[in-house]
Amino acid sequence: MQCCVCKEKPATVHLTQIVGDKMQKLDLCEECAKAKGINDPTSFAMADLMLGLGASQELDQSAAGAELKCPRCGFSQADFKKSGRLGCPDCYKTFAEGLSGLLKTMHKGTRHIGKAPEALRSARESIDRLKTLQKKLAKAIEGEDYEMAAGLRDEIKLLTAPPAKSR
């Protein structure tokens, strides 16, 4: 059996995982297994066990690769691979690129639509509203419906104006 990564050397490391009712199999040669951190059970196990096989590789594929470190807390890609957990709230920004694919496979959606802290709720709503208005505006312009566009533009202006009024 050939290694499924380099497709050259014979596969000596065999991984099997059952996800839902599908079985995933990986056959790797020793070198490729080492490169993926599979022969080191501590670095392989957690992220992949908890987040599904391939989770740690997914992060690696992001632009900065394994060198990426969170400027706030110093947490690195390799640390994530080891623990399957992040270092601090800012890590979600640092590793955003690699995480986005992971979140897609893990959750129903990639955008939070549940509860928000009360203090942020009104800001959150106006951001949402602004986004829909901007989309509508683009459509109106595209459809050369300038009357509609003017109305939308005014609405957007109102929304983005500094809150002078006290409610």
Binding site: G20, D21, M50, L51, C73, F75, D79, S83, G84, R85, L86, G87, C88, P89, Y92, L99, L102, L103, M106, H107, K108, G109, T110, R111, H112, I113, G114, K115, A116, P117, E118, A119, L120, R124, I127
Partner: protein
Amino acid sequence: MKDIHSFLCSPAESTRRQGPHDRIVISSRVRLARNVRGSAFPGWAKKPERVKVFEMIQPAVSSLLDMKDSFFEAMDSFTALDKQILVERHLISREHAAKNVGSGLVLNRDETFCVMINEEDHLRMQALRPGLQLRQAWNAIDAFDTALEKKLDFAFDNELGYLTACPTNLGTGIRVSAMLHLPGCVLDEQINPIIQSVNKLGLAVRGLYGEGTEALGNVFQVSNQMTLGETETVIVERLEKVLAQIIEHEQNARERLLEKKPKVVFNHIGRAYGILANAHSISSKETMNLLSLLKLGVDMNLFPGADRALVDELFLITQPAHLQKQVSDKLSAEERDLIRADMVRERLKGVSRPVARPGAGN
């Protein structure tokens, strides 16, 4: 500082709590994961930072109206035995029991709110209710969280929601779960298809003590896994629907067993009683599995006059830490097995052997 043992209600009291469908649904729980902005998650933070976060969060939690007369303690102040007792009571996770300096626990008077500080996240706050009360538990923890957010600045991202140490909890940070007693489904060999179909709905089925544990005593925990991209209410409602179906399956399984295979049922329950009432050495695992059958027998009216709470109490007090707590000397596992058997025999003295035909009024 109050002592946790004088604070916790007695095992007898704790097993007398009642709720809807409590023959099958032991308890409902909703937990929210929260972290404060600007601090590393507990698993990555160094000791001084963890202590700082604990010292900030604990007073904020204790000051909430819901936590009036609450108990709090740092994890390093508990003995290993006390931590294990809290695990057996399902108040803290096994992961939290392994924590020390910089982690802690805040528990309210009637044990309906329990907050773990610096477990995997800065805050794991749970609302606990007996029986099937997911919605009530969600409403309670929602209000709790709203009150707490006025005192703490939670890490929240407009796109991703509440930020958690593990991406699996991201967004709502919610885990809605119920602990179920399903001896009928197990005896009727329906439990595996049920687990599979529940898994297909994106829900997890776990054992008695949560993640990675065995379903001792036919006790299963069902909970959501996905936390991002749906509202809390939708998640709670999905769980409610699935639980209603599991409850129906369990009821049907019990009825079907009595109708189609009464001898099999009576045999299991009779043997369970025989061993429990007569053994002189018994492990914790065997005790739990047999007590589950005894409880099924009580539910099926095979033990007229027997008190169901007695069985529930035995289920709790025969677990290793609770058992150890009742005697002064440190016991080995073998010694525990002897004392456990003595205790169970003694308690079952008042329970006569099962009748071969269930009484009326089931």
